[in-house]
């Protein structure tokens, strides 16, 4: 089997070598000047056609597509940039409004507290006034009553004195003299 392989290999090498030799006899096909002209003619034709296809059709189409894609990517990037800037502005506006609202709330709170305390003070003052008025009124009444009582005491003293004088003297006292006497006693106190 191995021998078979070797012999086949040898045969192949010989054949290959002889094949090359045969080719060498006929010369390389590449070196046959007879075939030069048609190859060059068709090389020029096909190459020029390909050049026209490339420069007139393919390159404008592809560069246009690439530019469009680049433009799209750029505009998308710009839009994203703008959107993110808008977001930043929105966030800033939101935070400003939040701060303003907080400030407003604080102010309102303070004002409310001030107003509350003012109102309380006012009510307190009003209450105090009312109380004072009532105290004044009560004092006035008390003073009036005292006057009345004092006057009553004077009348009573007058009556008692007239009574006592009547009982002691057995005759009614002179009203004018008695009145003067009572007044003198009262003034003497």
């Amino acid at each position: 089997m191995r021998k078979q392989v070797y012999s086949a290999l040898a045969a192949a090498l010989v054949a290959g070598a002889s094949g090359t030799a045969v080719a060498a006899e006929g010369g390389m096909p590449q070196l046959n000047p007879h075939d030069f002209a048609p190859q060059i003619v068709w090389l020029v034709i096909t190459f020029v056609v390909l050049y026209l296809i490339m420069s007139k059709l393919a390159i404008p189409a592809i560069s246009d597509t690439l530019e469009k894609r680049q433009g799209k990517i750029q505009s998308d990037l710009d839009a994203a940039e703008k959107a993110s800037e808008d977001t930043r502005a929105l966030v800033a506006a939101y935070e400003k409004r939040l701060a303003d609202a907080r400030e407003e709330a604080r102010k309102l709170h303070r004002e409310q507290a001030e107003a509350d305390s003012a109102a309380a003070a006012a009510r307190l003052a009003e209450l105090g006034d009312k109380l004072n008025a009532r105290i004044d009124e009560a004092e006035k009444r008390i003073a009036g009553q005292r006057q009345t009582v004092l006057e009553g005491i004077e009348d009573m003293a007058h009556d008692i004195a007239a009574d006592v004088y009547g009982k002691l003297a057995g005759q009614p006292a002179d009203a004018g003299a008695l009145k003067a006497k009572v007044a003198a006693v009262k003034g003497g106190r």
């Binding site: 192949a12 054949a15 190859q39 003619v41 390909l50 296809i53 420069s55 390159i59």
Partner: protein, 242 residues
């Protein structure tokens, strides 16, 4: 048993003469035409939708476009923008010819020195014309390295001149030889598969599978090398940097 060189045979499919010029439509011309059609399908039909989010084919076409555009931008700069369509065409043409050549029973147009040399000659002549058009006689300063003692210049200037004129040959032979060698290798090992048969043919078959992958890489790489060297030559002509 066919010779490994038979695959490179030019066959006339339609005989066609313009006066004394033989313009016959050959198998080489057929595969160049197919390459152009494939490029048309990929770069024009495939990108027709102009979708903002590309599909597979459009993404592939855009990748190829941006690959070459980046190559021209990085190696030539803004002045190279004018030559971008040419470099892209060159890259796509060579790439499709190389890759299509890997299909069994197809023909590799770039495996012929005439074809590669014609392209290299166009690049060489074009670059030289651009150089003289932009800089006039000053373009010759390309051959004189800066900051070198005069005695050394006697040696260096001929070297620079020779290396400049070798460019079209190195450019064309590099591509042609890569294609020739790869396809010959595949054919020879394909012959081994047949010879060793069902018993021993598996080893060369496995080799062919792996080697085809490598050839695919080389097909791309050689198109890339051709295009980038064109860019570098353009850069020399435009900026006179050395």
């Amino acid at each position: 048993m066919h010779s490994p060189m038979e695959q490179f045979e030019i066959k006339r499919l339609l005989n066609f003469h313009l006066g004394s010029l033989d313009a016959s439509y050959t198998n080489s011309a057929l595969w160049m035409t197919i390459a152009v059609i494939c490029a048309f399908l990929l770069f024009v039909v495939g990108t027709q939708k102009r979708a903002l989010v590309p599909g597979r084919i459009q993404a592939m076409a855009e990748m190829g476009y941006e690959f070459v555009a980046g190559m021209v931008r990085d190696n030539v700069g803004d002045a190279g923008k004018k030559y971008f369509p040419f470099v892209l065409t060159l890259f796509v043409f060579i790439l499709f010819c190389n890759v299509l050549g890997l299909i069994p029973y197809s023909f590799t147009a770039t495996s012929h020195i005439v074809v590669t040399f014609a392209m290299a000659a166009v690049v060489f002549v074009g670059v030289t014309v651009i150089g003289f058009a932009r800089h006039g006689a000053h373009f010759l300063s390309l051959f004189v390295p800066k900051g070198v003692p005069f005695v050394l210049l006697l040696l260096l200037v001929p070297i620079e001149i020779i290396s400049y004129f070798v460019r079209p040959f190195s450019l064309s032979i590099r591509l042609f030889a890569n294609m020739l060698a790869g396809h010959t290798m595949l054919k020879v090992f394909g012959g081994f598969v047949v010879m060793l048969g069902i018993i021993g043919g598996w080893a060369p078959l496995a080799f062919i599978v792996v080697f085809t992958g490598l050839e695919l890489l080389i097909a791309f790489l050689q198109a890339y090398v051709f295009a980038i060297l064109t860019c570098l030559y353009l850069n020399d002509a435009i900026h006179l940097h050395h």
